[in-house]
Amino acid sequence: MAGHSPEEISAERRVYVTVFASLGVLTLVTVAVASLDLSTGAAIFVALAIASVKGSLVACYFMHLIGERKLIYAVLALTFFFFLVLIFLPLAAQADRMGG
């Protein structure tokens, strides 16, 4: 559980400010990279990699997933599995149809 002491909260504040600054910089990096003349595949990979880092920062620090209870990890692991199914099953079906 999150503490209420001023020292703990002050340390937390520093973490939030650092994450905020990182998110701002990464947003600008995303835009800068998009203006480079990368191939479509490379551009998609880089943009999604940066978005994943940003998303992880939000989830881990703002949503406190670092140091959360096991039950929440279990819920999210299940969700992640079905999310992958949701993304890749239609693609697999499409690839199968195109291949056949």
Binding site: A2, H4, T27, A47, A59, F62, R69, V75, L76, F82
Partner: protein, 194 residues
């Protein structure tokens, strides 16, 4: 009847009930937006003549910065409550509301410019996807504003009677808000940059 585990964690889950509740809700939201992302990928990869419209990257970047900042202000509002500073809590939550409002105003101008260029959901598959995804995301922003408005207005009374429970409500509302920010972090490059 008193609803149990509003403040103290439930022994078997280690969580107060609303926290488990919001995470289950967010899990369902992952599937909702996941279905739309999946459809977008399928439509795009399945169409060799896919046409991607040029959208306003500058406005979308500004909106990204608005949402990131609002994630910080909402977490600061929660911290202020843990320090018993209600005035600061209100300031930070109003700031969050203002940033959310600014996001929607920018989105309004973006949509208006697109309509002026005769770009509608019916124009092509990309615009249909764009309006569906950003529209659903915008509704989530609006939903967050309604919740924050309640917590700043009539809901704020709880701070006097049950401060711990009220603090938990702000944490839970914040978790939802960060999720809305997280979705935008993926929508932004997918729709505007790639």
């Amino acid at each position: 009847m008193q609803i149990p585990y509003n403040e103290e964690p439930r022994p078997d889950t280690g969580l107060y009930n609303a926290k488990l509740g919001i995470w289950l809700f967010l899990a369902s939201e992952v599937m909702l937006f996941g279905a739309l992302f999946s459809s977008y990928i399928l439509l795009r990869t399945g169409n060799p003549d896919w046409h991607q419209e040029e959208l306003d990257v500058v406005l979308a970047t500004i909106n990204t910065l608005f949402l990131i900042t609002s994630s910080v202000t909402v977490v600061f509002a929660w911290m202020a409550l843990r320090l018993n500073d209600f005035a600061k809590f209100k300031l930070y939550l109003w700031l969050t509301m203002a940033l959310a409002g600014a996001f929607l105003v920018v989105k309004y101008f973006e949509y208006s410019a697109e309509f002026e260029h005769h770009l509608y959901p019916s124009s092509n598959n990309f615009m249909a996807t764009y309006f569906t995804m950003t529209g659903l995301h915008g509704i989530h922003i609006l939903g967050g504003m309604v919740v924050f408005g309640y917590l700043l207005g009539p809901g704020a009374k709880m701070w006097k009677s049950e401060p711990e429970r009220f603090t938990n409500r702000i944490e839970v509302a914040g978790l939802y808000w960060h999720f809305v920010d997280l979705v935008w972090i993926f929508l932004f490059p997918s729709l505007y940059l790639l």
